[in-house]
Symmetry: C2
Amino acid sequence: MKPSTATGAGVDTRAVAVVGAGLHRYGKFDELTYHDLAQPAIRGALESAGVAWGDIEAGWCGHTQGGITLGARIFSRLGKTGLSITNVENASASGSYAFRGAWLEVASGQCDVAIALGVDKRSREISPQFVQAGIEALEAEEAKAAGKKKSQSGGRAFRPFSPVAKFAVMAREHMDKYGTTIDQVAQVSVKQHANAALNEYAQYQKPVTLEEVHEARMLVDPLTVLHSCPFGDGAAAVILMSERGIERFGIENPVWVRASISQSQEGGDDLDATTEKAARCAYEASGIGPDEIGMVELHDAFTIEEIVYVESLGLCAPGEGGKLVESGATARDGRVPVNSSGGLLAMGHPFGPTGIGQIAEIFWQLRGEAGERQIPSRPRSGLAHMVGMGGTCIVQVFSL
Amino acid sequence: MKPSTATGAGVDTRAVAVVGAGLHRYGKFDELTYHDLAQPAIRGALESAGVAWGDIEAGWCGHTQGGITLGARIFSRLGKTGLSITNVENASASGSYAFRGAWLEVASGQCDVAIALGVDKRSREISPQFVQAGIEALEAEEAKAAGKKKSQSGGRAFRPFSPVAKFAVMAREHMDKYGTTIDQVAQVSVKQHANAALNEYAQYQKPVTLEEVHEARMLVDPLTVLHSCPFGDGAAAVILMSERGIERFGIENPVWVRASISQSQEGGDDLDATTEKAARCAYEASGIGPDEIGMVELHDAFTIEEIVYVESLGLCAPGEGGKLVESGATARDGRVPVNSSGGLLAMGHPFGPTGIGQIAEIFWQLRGEAGERQIPSRPRSGLAHMVGMGGTCIVQVFSL
């Protein structure tokens, strides 16, 4: 039960564990409000931890488009208890960073019991002004940096924005450089959909075949729509506790946070190099190496990402990601299961909840509470990885 | 040099100090982008700390309407150094909470050098969708809680929303209950404008008379427009360091963070009771009592707030706030100067920067670097207080 340690400063902090998790299914729920989505997730987390709302001392809310003060509005529905409230936005990684904020709060000794909530509605209003402004500004920056003109497709209407093109390039480059096949890339989607079919919280709960992935509507060659995550609504919540909180509430089977490493792109680095650096720090801080990690939940907004990031995370040699997936090593019954939840590709990617849903999956798998989709090897450690638009990257390691 | 201590958990954390501060003037700057506003503030903070951009290990960005990933977009302009990046939104208190996040990051041992940035543009686009959605949802909640119908003035166009009415009620109640006079309330505006006239970063730099406050356009009786803060654009940044960072960079005159207490409304409590609880925790955690606080920067979006909060902060007896202001005790040369910066009323209130601008003011005053508006008593400690829509409240204590 070694406490988490820091990267930059190398200072030991208080030990913190995840002790409860709850989700609202991801999907398209036009009729549900932010409250409707969040409350079942929060209640699920409280129930599984065996604590009451009044026990929570700090709440962090990750979202991208719920409007200002969303955390306060949602938490006050459960009772105004005086808890500390903070809202976090880090694009795709908003939930991961809300978790990290709650972790910092407990790790630094501000409180013993905290909740991290992620909630978003991204199926109906895909790009309201707050989100669109960020995307346009970032695209203009990137275009400027690349010496290009601003995207001609600008304006307020939804359009397939740069990530699709970016990851199509990532796929083509990996295929060219390492001989990775489109079957290997598509296999990621097949695997994730098979996992999601066993996940009651997943947006998609239906397996797909390799042929279906290949023959789906093309987005940007070689990526069809089944290589891409859906837009959706949803919510996820986890409870964090200090050792003292765990003693006080008599918690059994806590899942310890062993490292929470946040970095951003450095120089000309891309997401894979940033992931590699953050993972190296996380392995060092946690004392758990890549060979010991029992399961991984990683950012697979596009299939090619699993192939690239399993290399960056040190789960196989550079260039071997396609073969690793093909071998079945990242399947639920493989050596190192990746995205047993179904991942962003098939469980879904509502932004706010995504990073916290990953941690919920690790929590349940490590405790043997994942039901039908329980990883047979019963992992004793897990790694959660997210990247966010703008170049943020977060790697968090957990263990029993 | 006692380290900050916690409220909930009572655990000592690493000592953290503010070692640099920089601002961009608050005001209406239609022609300036978020970058234009942020860069001078960041450069000012780096220069005053004597560190380079590459030395910063973590950046927290507080804002309400800069669009997603604003922190990453702004920070990357100074160079992609790999720093950890997190965006925070807590309405009026967004900057205060960005500071607190950076403080948690250093206090918990994640790094030795962090920056807290607040930036917002609120003069031109007063309520884009992200902000408006939050306001409308909160008003609906409050109306529901009060058994009233939803505000009939709803819709997307700007309107004087509930805070004006809320604080007008606060003023009338204080006047009825304690015999506080409208002259005493208006005196807050006169004092703040006098202070702001000496502040090169203030939105308003012109003194006003009691008569001008009384005769200004009425918003909601008894509050005229000169009882209310302006909307504006601006930026503020401070650098935070651990003791090890301070040694490494040979920093002189660090301003130590002695407490950072975040709470929200409890039960039927209003902002004054929440402030009182948070302040009590902050005094206990810091070991600095209300009688020892050398200066205060508090949330004065409306004049009456100074009168109410000086009581909540324990600077005078309940009901004596009006007399305290009238006596000159909260003036720049008084016993406990309040809002020597000019406060939200006259320095301005761009949301993102506001809470960090307060801390910059305390930093400069404690170091004797406040120039023309230097508090003659040369305070050795200061308290920063903000509240945010939704019921959040934060009290942070600093000392040499």
